[in-house]
Symmetry: C2
Subunit: 284 residues, 2 copies
């Protein structure tokens, strides 16, 4: 069986198992829609917010809210600041019901795990974590973005803030490349920018990779390597045959990434105080 077939097979198996589990914990007491809504309301949420999070039609959501309200599980009141908006909150009975649903879901999963030994459970959790990391990585969408745009500057600012925390000597944000010089890629995960990387021209066939940033939310899934590959491909597509880059001694993961991506260490090629270690790949 090829990889696609194996993944499909797993999907079929998993959805069947999860379906049985879900049926059991909902136990016919509440529809999936109502249960999800109770869960999302949690400590209280604006109706607009709920609509966006659950991706529901406003008419449908309104009806679900009325039905939960009629059962005394929630309260919906206008928001004082803007009386067009309404805020849904759980009543005591609603909180009780949510606890109940939660306890039954926990119990169903617990019963599933019970026959396994401690070691087997640890293996299960570790394997699930691996699956999720890889799927999240696969879902990240990498797009070319104008380096003067708001989102580009926001990414670079976060990058600068994180470096300032990381370097003993701090980081001077003035070191960031000014807009207009960079070809910049931004990585999006479910609508949120979680990483970026850029290149700029250093010489006729030489590009410099700069500002490789992976946000805290997306660390440890291999996004750094993917961004590096994409930016290399982008520079190559623009006719650059050699890539140089510099980095700080403190960024050990980055240094390991460059080494394992085929870069060789060279003497620093500029006098930036942050580029203490330099690498290159390819030939001019």
């Amino acid at each position: 069986m090829d990889q696609v077939e194996l993944v499909r097979d797993f999907n079929r198996y998993y959805t069947r198992r999860i379906g049985v589990l879900t049926d059991r914990y909902l136990g016919q007491r509440r529809s999936l829609g109502e249960a999800r809504l109770l869960f999302e309301i949690g400590a209280g949420a604006e109706v607009r917010e709920l609509r966006a999070r659950l991706g529901l039609d406003s008419g449908y959501l309104s009806r679900l809210l009325r039905s939960l309200e009629a059962e005394g599980l929630i309260r919906v009141d206008p928001q004082p600041d803007d009386r067009r908006l309404r805020v849904a909150e759980l009543t005591d009975a609603g909180a009780q019901e949510l606890d109940d649903l939660d306890a039954r879901s926990r119990e169903a999963v617990d019963a599933l795990l019970r026959p396994l030994t401690v070691v087997q459970r640890e293996r299960l959790v570790a394997a699930q974590d691996q699956v999720r990391r890889l799927l999240r990585l696969a879902a990240v969408d990498i797009q070319r973005v104008d380096d003067a745009s708001g989102i580009a500057r926001a990414c670079l600012r976060t990058y600068a803030d994180e470096l300032a925390d990381r370097f003993p000597e701090g980081y001077d944000a003035a070191t960031l490349t000014p807009p207009g010089q960079l070809a910049l890629l931004v990585a999006w995960d479910e609508g949120e920018a979680v990483g970026c990387v850029a290149w700029r021209r250093l010489g006729p066939k030489v590009a410099e990779v700069r500002h490789l940033w992976v946000g805290v939310r997306a660390r440890g899934i291999g996004l750094g390597r993917r961004l590096l590959q994409e930016i290399e491909a982008d520079a190559a597509a623009h006719g650059f045959t050699m890539i140089r880059l510099g980095t700080h001694r403190a960024l050990t993961e980055a240094i390991a990434l460059y080494r394992s991506s085929g870069y060789r260490e060279i003497e620093p090629y500029d006098d930036s105080p942050y580029n203490q270690v330099a690498f290159e790949k390819g030939a001019a």
Copy 2:
């Protein structure tokens, strides 16, 4: 987060991702019910069989069949042997439609995997395989069964057949313990017996574990270890503090299992030609 919470979290994430995938490949062209039915009919199936496999109400299934028939995707004819039964078969158009659905499902998964490197895809498949093995193991139901019952004898017969294949000298089924002496556990996976194990009394506090069998379908998921643990617990619950067992030199996985389960090797305690290696655990 504890293990139950981690598993729930994974379930939520995975169902969301799979849901998106499924929506895409069905592409609104056919309802999930009809698609599943087409898939189950495949090369042809009795209506009764379909009802059992899909767990559908007979009225509902009938209507789904009529709808597919009206579209010219299937043909439903009485079975010649028993004209109450009816057999559904795909027409050429139906086979075409199924191929189409299949190709689109493959394409959706392929698109999901495309951003990953070869190594990452291999890791994904391996991790999914691990998850599935562990879930299958967790779903196996181990039940006490009378050793004279049909299912018990069927398990022991399969066990004997497999040993006959495995041992160079063959295996004499007369060596099987006759009914009435064994406390026997059978492992069920989705209604099918896939393994067994038994103990019998050897002395005041000494029990002998016999006939540990794991069927081909359930190998490699750790079921042998689970059966061994359950049978040890059962013997202990009956007041036996020491367990002995003998096995054949050719059964290397079994020997490894006993060693890693805390058994120490002893001199053979009986003259069975198949018990060439013997182990014990506990104290009399």
